[in-house]
Symmetry: C2
Subunit: 407 residues, 2 copies
């Protein structure tokens, strides 16, 4: 298809790049889905064709992420921001059923704060009420300025509560470019070993929005809830994917009778689970494209392949940053060891240097490199659909820029 | 595009037919949106191109529906089912700010129940708590069996409360095929004249999901909230459109401090309004296709054109139903005068007759005619994208069927 040749390299942070082959297939499905004579966006979500498609999506995620039978995979709308509220409501309902007698002021929600998104999640928990919100750690206290989210804090900084209704963390902070390490031995890994000392089921909730399906999820089975918006690695905006442990799918109405806040029906995990994610009309089209991406991932060797590729891509970009930093042209914003594979952030040193960097990139056909409006700087997002040749193109450009500036 | 020729006539109730020309344009935009070199699903929702697109969508709705400056047009996710909860939470917050002293048991929500969807809305209001739910009228009490939603009840049956936090109705009941008349003089119109006797702003909330943008909205300016899922007349599932009067966009946090239930941030109309519907990533792709449909509507003469066409389409189908009923082949399910333009429901008389009717239709290239699983029968959905030739094709088939069966 000729449109491909006009396409630019898209390093945007989300909505973000999708594989061209998937978009080409989707553009056919828009007019005629699987030979039904009806386009995918026009097809009933109750049709056997769409139900089969959804079942297959579920199975593609389950297989590739190795999701155990203790966990359900659910699809919904509203993005990560809606889950900020939903995880609180569902987990407080669960906690109420476990501890009907416990007062709201004795109910605690534990939050690990490492960036802009976990901070937003804390604020929403405070808005929703019904519990005391405990910030287990705020990584800014470990930054040199005391103000930047630029490091994963050490394990012993995390002060978890005795019996919290949830323990929340954001695996990859899209705005700030910090990420928990995937290696248990690293000081920048999540301190899983500090959890669940009583041997029970840990109420661990993880926002995986910007790293979902970019590599395996460590300790997946120990999580109560993992959620992710699709619009980073696997599809268009409008689809949220949830992995929920069975004990967190509770009768929210029974909990409300015991004093928990009512949970809007479309936010209740029980509604989603009981209806196979089809309680009401889902966002069919974003689901369809996500399903095509998941199929393609499977064909290309699954998460192992993506983990290897994503690691190489990130290493290449960090390497050129290091070079630029040594020559005084770039300045990394995140401490060594805490840097994200998905969102690499840095500054370009000098007056108007960032503007020059971005304009040069745009002329060379590379878009989406501007940092989040709240923090500025440059952000290179390296989601699954960003190809290695595109990364090489970026690295080549950055090398040239360094050479010109340090000459 | 050759795929068009393989397409069938889609009379599904939603997700439902979309114009082929729009789907063809969208399939190009999937790979390259407005020459940006980035597909629409990959483009930042903060980009100037997408912001301009959203502003234009808003203006296309405002112009065609003649939305006054007293009302905001907002876009969100989650469908009508999410609005069942959201209208209650936002309107209870508004009511709390107006009457800080009023107890929950003295706060009333008025519901006009005329079908499956308004019944679901009542159930969700009861779940959400914080007020007494008053069923103003239940149209089943006016049906012959006492069980069917088959008539719009007479005006004097509506017993509105003195000062309710909201008055709710569903303009068109997609499952049951009943609809309020658009003519004030009709006994099947909504009893607007019974409202707002005190001269104040009436808290009138309308679910317009399945008739939004099929014709003008009577008394639009008197509504507090009008909402609609896109997936009937204007786009793919995953987009909800709201028209909200300014006085219903309230500080939900201030209301919560006075004892109202906290409103999840993504459900708060204030969040949506303050951010221009871009608080978090919206469902970009469903918005895009809806925008293309709205542009096409404008080009084709706006709502006046669609009102005329939809009226003709419905009249043709009701005419053949009347003929079939006279000959004992069909049986209308809805009383004369209460029938929907968008969803025409009937039964086919005789053993296995419905099955034969559906199979014959499918062989003739017509899909989506099966009634909702909760009520059975046949349902012919006649949304904007169902063309007049397709309706003629259906009428022709129905005539043939009548001839064969009554021979």
């Amino acid at each position: 298809m000729s449109s491909e040749h006009a396409r630019v390299a898209n390093f945007g942070a989300g909505p973000s790049a999708l594989p061209v082959s998937v978009l080409e297939e989707a553009s056919k499905g828009l007019l005629n889905f699987q030979g039904t004579g009806i386009g995918i966006a026009e097809l009933s979500h109750r049709s056997k064709e769409f139900q089969a498609f959804v079942n297959n999506m579920e199975s593609l995620i389950r297989t590739q992420l190795d999701v155990p039978p203790t966990h359900r995979i659910l699809f919904t709308q509203g993005g990560g921001s809606m889950q900020f509220s939903a995880v609180v409501l569902n987990m407080l309902a669960r906690h109420r059923l476990l501890h009907p007698e416990r007062a709201a002021e004795d109910t605690v929600l534990d939050y690990v704060v490492t960036g802009s998104w976990s901070k937003k999640a804390v604020e929403e928990a405070q808005r929703m009420g019904g519990a005391r919100v405990n910030v287990v750690v705020d990584s800014r206290t470990f930054s040199e300025s005391g103000k930047a989210f630029d490091i994963i804090p050490p394990h012993d900084a995390c002060k978890f509560s005795e019996d919290p209704a949830l323990i929340y963390y954001c695996e990859n902070e899209t705005v700030d470019g910090v990420e928990f390490s995937h290696e248990d031995a690293s000081p920048a890994s999540f301190p899983f070993h500090l959890l669940g000392k009583n041997g029970g089921l840990v109420p661990l909730v993880a926002d995986y929005s910007s790293s979902f399906m970019c590599r395996p999820i460590p300790h997946l089975a120990d999580h109560a809830i993992i959620y992710a918006g699709a619009q980073k690695n696997i599809g268009p905006a409008g689809l949220t994917i949830l992995i929920v442990r069975e004990d967190c799918i509770v009768d929210v109405d029974a909990a409300a009778k015991l004093g928990a806040s009512p949970v809007p029906l479309t936010m209740s995990y029980k509604t989603l689970a009981d209806s196979g994610s089809l309680y009401n009309t889902p966002s069919v089209l974003p689901m369809y494209i996500s399903g095509l991406v998941l199929e393609r991932m499977q064909r290309h060797g699954g998460l192992k392949h993506y983990e290897e590729t994503n690691k190489r891509k990130a290493e290449k970009v960090y390497a050129v940053l290091r070079e630029g930093q040594e020559k005084g042209v770039f300045k990394r914003k995140v401490k060594e060891g805490s840097g994200s594979w998905m969102n690499v952030v840095f500054e370009v040193v000098g007056p108007d240097a960032e503007k020059a960097f971005l304009e040069g990139a745009e002329r060379a056909g590379m878009m989406g490199l501007k940092g989040h409006r709240s923090v500025g700087g440059i952000r290179v997002s390296l989601y699954n659909a960003v190809t290695e040749p595109e990364v090489d193109q970026f690295v080549e450009y950055a090398k040239q820029f360094i050479a010109e500036r340090s000459a």
